[in-house]
């Protein structure tokens, strides 16, 4: 099972995401409230996967993604996004994101997105 870093400025989203991920059987090793914190925690925990909110105060998800990818080329990052942010998701994918999940986050969406990054966690 995977070690995951959850990045979101909303406490509720962090809580729900963590609960959902742990239900699937993964371990949330750390949670970050903003892009800057995500960079620091990534270096500290070197997780297998990051879920990254796109719009956050101070440093947004794309900036954070770019910086993590610059330092850790193999970092696997999934973006968490809302409708209307399609352009930002496209930029993220071009910058090395491995997928995206459109809010509201459901267990199905999570599992599908993870299996695209780690096919061994696919249900089929």
């Amino acid at each position: 099972m995977l070690n995951i870093l959850v990045v979101d400025d909303s406490l509720i989203i962090r809580k729900t995401l963590t609960a959902q991920l742990e239900k699937i059987g993964h371990t949330v090793v750390a949670q970050a409230k903003c892009g800057q914190e995500a960079i620091e925690l990534y270096g500290e925990y070197l997780p297998d996967l990051v879920t990254m909110d796109i719009s956050m105060p101070i440093m947004d998800g794309i900036e954070s993604l770019k910086e993590i990818k610059e330092n850790y080329e193999s970092a696997k990052i999934i973006m968490i996004t809302s409708r209307g942010e399609e352009k930002l998701v496209m930029e993220s994918l071009t910058s090395g994101a491995r997928g995206y999940i459109l809010k509201p986050i459901t267990r199905d969406k999570l599992e599908t997105a993870i299996s695209k990054v780690y096919p061994e966690f696919s249900n089929d």
């Binding site: 406490l11 809580k15 399609e86 496209m90 071009t94 997928g99 995206y100 695209k116």
Partner: protein, 745 residues
């Protein structure tokens, strides 16, 4: 040949010079060096032969010329030449002989030595002999090259014949049509062997599907000496068939005599199959009623697309058109998203990511007034496929369903508090025709109506009132606005018409008499029972599942108690909080159900909606903040009332953030409601009372629910009409308590 030309040529020749006499060798070398650059020296026949063999072994070629003395120790010239000729019978050998050696010279000439020269060596003689040898060598070399070329040509011709045989489906017949020759390719395609075919009539491969008129035409053409070209279906040995594109022509022998016919063919079976498959696929696509098209990385639409595309785009042809222009037209935002997505897809080198880009492209667009859904597929060679489906009807159905649900909600809300609604209707109708003298009072009423209608789920009139309010507020903020200007804005809105649409729907559902029933505070039981019957009848026609609830509400209407007056608020709180995304426990109303109050309380009770709205919108924090500061993530609002000394005490509390006094005071100063000086002289309680001042709000932006700063002042007005007083207790961070004390009378 002059000497210069000769030496130029001879310099490149490889020479073996064999001579045992040192003196003779030295002197001859002096002369030879004028003609040759590369001379190998041997000192006797034995040495000469060894060097000859070694040279061949190391260079893989022979010396061009061997120059040798005859009379030598160990092995003489004759012996050496014999051995050399065994290896290379074409070797040029020039013997240098003494005059007394004619016998051995004769023997050498018989052996094949072509040139000799007598001692002592004379230059003119040597040149003449060298000339002969050189010409000889050159001629041989030219011949060798010619031979090589011919050999190559032969090989090429063989390959050509071979490939003709294996790739060209060829056959010949005699004049009667009996097969005289077939190529290997013919054997393969027909399934017959050469021996099975030769001697047979060409009809052996004729397919029954072919018309005899076609063969008649072929015969007439070729008998006439002309070429026949066309498609023929042939029969295989195993009974299957194949299509060829055939060229059949008369065949002439070497003497130009017409001896038969020859035919070459190209297999077009797969071509034919593809063509018919294409036709089938096109048929399917054209009749699917969906738009299928593909386009390349330059956004150009490919030639094949389904007919429905032209219907959707209302164009005569879309081949080579830019897909982004055709599909999204002037919608620059969607165009940009589409083009950006496509170019990013092309730049990505992973299929998984490419697919993800496609999921981000616009999935719906209105084309020529129709709702079109768009699906994207990635094809090979950087091509994309688009599937367009007209979903106009589905959309219409969806919105119709939504509207029906909304209407149902309205009917239930109206019917469950009939008296309430009839009063509201009369008040509103009065409001619409009453002269406007006090603008503030007018706006306050407008705002209250909006709130109450929203409570009744009357979306049409609420939308209109909201828009009117927004426009009036805009006007108010302009300079030099007079009350007449405001009245003009008001008159632009035909509120009566909008309201009547809703009324008609209510009438047509609940029956005409529903709204015309006399509305006194005591209900005529017989009329009520009539109504009840009517609704029961309506229920049997299955108009609404919720009518069961209405019936229950009707029962409740017999009581005229404060408790029942307040009873619509639990659903209001639920509705507003879900609209605003707040989590709140169901509103509890605590108090004596039998406590009756005068109907004069009704306007006050109605205006409480602003207070509840404020509590939910401003008071209760969002879920996340509540969790973060350690509060129960679900908020609580409580409404309590009791009777104390002939007064009604109504208390509404929430556990929200409390009133932000700082902000309230700042806004009051900003809006010139209070001066800095006045502020210093008032206490906290008075400061809190500022919340009831007209146009004062702690919100920076008005929402649908609250924030205009009108509602609370309306509530204060209604309280004062009942000679009541308001107290506020606010604890920043933990909530507010509003206490209304109202004389029962």
């Amino acid at each position: 040949m002059n000497i210069k030309d000769l030496t130029q040529y001879s310099k490149s020749l490889k020479i073996l010079y064999v001579e045992d006499n040192d003196e003779a060798r030295e002197s001859t070398l002096l002369m030879l060096e004028n003609f040759f650059d590369d001379i190998t020296i041997a000192v006797d026949g034995d040495d000469g032969y060894e060097k000859y063999i070694n040279y061949y072994k190391s260079q893989n070629r022979y010396f061009d010329i061997v120059i040798s003395d005859i009379n030598m120790p160990k092995m003489d010239g004759t012996e050496m030449c014999k051995l050399i000729f065994v290896h290379n019978k074409n070797q040029h050998i020039l013997m240098i002989s003494a005059y007394n050696d004619s016998e051995r010279l004769q023997e050498l000439l018989n052996m094949g030595v072509s040139n000799y020269i007598h001692k002592p060596l004379r230059l003119d003689k040597f040149i003449s002999v060298l000339e002969d040898i050189t010409i000889n060598i050159r001629t041989i070399k030219i011949k060798e090259n010619e031979l090589k070329e011919i050999e190559q040509l032969n090989n090429g011709l063989d390959a050509l014949v071979d490939s003709f045989d294996s790739y060209v489906i060829a056959s010949r017949t005699d004049l009667k049509g009996t097969i005289t020759y077939v190529s290997k390719a013919y054997e393969i395609i027909s399934g017959y062997t050469k021996s099975e075919l030769i001697g047979q009539s060409h009809n052996i491969v004729r397919h029954p599907d072919m018309l005899s008129s076609t063969f008649k035409n072929i015969w007439e053409t070729i008998k006439d000496g002309k070429l026949w070209v066309g498609e023929i279906k042939n029969l295989n040995k195993d009974g299957s068939s194949y299509w060829v594109d055939a060229n059949i022509a008369p065949y002439y022998d070497k003497n130009n005599k017409h001896v038969g016919y020859s035919a070459i063919r190209v297999d077009i079976t797969s071509q034919k199959a593809l063509k018919s498959l294409n036709l089938e696929v096109n048929n399917l696509l054209n009749n699917a009623g969906q738009g299928f098209l593909s386009f390349n990385k330059n956004m150009q639409i490919s030639k094949s697309f389904s007919k429905e595309c032209l219907n959707i785009f209302k164009l005569k042809d879309i081949y080579n058109c830019n897909i982004s222009d055709v599909l999204f037209g002037d919608d620059l935002i969607k165009k940009d998203l589409f083009e950006d997505g496509i170019s990013r897809t092309l730049l990505s080198d992973e299929d998984v990511i490419k697919e993800m880009f496609l999921t981000l492209l616009p999935i719906e667009h209105i084309v020529n007034g129709k709702d079109i859904s768009i699906e994207y597929k990635l094809l090979d060679d950087d091509k994309f496929m688009i599937i367009l489906t007209d979903i106009t009807n589905t959309k219409k159905l969806e919105s119709k369903l939504k509207k029906q649900n909304q209407l149902q909600k309205m009917i239930v809300a109206v019917a469950s508090n009939k008296n309430d609604f009839i009063e509201l209707k009369e008040e509103f109708e009065h409001f619409l025709i009453a002269p406007i003298d006090d603008l503030r009072d007018f706006l306050r009423q407008l705002h209250t109506f909006k709130g109450v209608f929203a409570q009744k789920e009357m979306v049409n009139i609420v939308d209109t009132l909201h828009s009117l309010e927004t426009n009036i507020n805009k006007k108010v903020q302009e300079d030099n606005t007079t009350i007449e200007n405001i009245i003009d804005v008001f008159k632009d809105y035909d509120l009566e018409k909008t309201f009547n649409i809703d009324l008609e729907i209510i009438n047509s559902t609940l029956g005409d008499c529903f709204l015309t029933v006399n509305s006194s505070s005591s209900i005529d039981i017989s009329k009520f029972d009539n109504l009840k019957l009517k609704i029961e009848r309506l229920e049997s026609t299955d108009m609404s599942n919720s009518l069961q609830d209405i019936l229950y509400d009707f029962e409740r209407m017999r009581y005229e108690s404060l408790y029942l007056m307040l009873n619509s608020y639990p659903s209001v709180v639920k509705q507003v909080s879900s609209k605003l995304g707040k989590k709140i426990y169901p509103l509890i109303i605590e108090g004596d159900k039998k406590l009756n109050v005068s109907s004069e309380f009704k306007p006050f009770i109605k205006s409480l909606i602003h207070l509840f709205n404020n509590c939910i919108d401003h008071g209760i924090e969002d879920i996340e903040t509540r969790v973060e500061i350690g509060k129960d993530e679900t908020g609580t609002i409580v409404c309590k009332f009791n009777e104390i000394d002939g007064n009604i005490q109504l208390i509404i509390t929430d556990d929200g953030s409390g009133i932000d006094i700082e902000k309230l005071v700042q806004n009051a100063i900003k809006k010139n409601i209070i001066t800095q000086k006045e502020l210093e002289s008032i206490n906290i309680n008075e400061k809190l009372m500022l919340i009831f001042t007209d146009r004062l709000t702690t919100k920076d932006k008005a929402s649908y629910t609250s924030g205009r700063g009108i509602g609370m002042s309306a509530l204060k007005n209604e309280t004062e009409k009942l000679d009541g007083v308001i107290d506020i207790n606010s604890k920043e961070g933990s909530g507010v308590e509003f206490i209304f004390t109202l004389p029962i009378k």
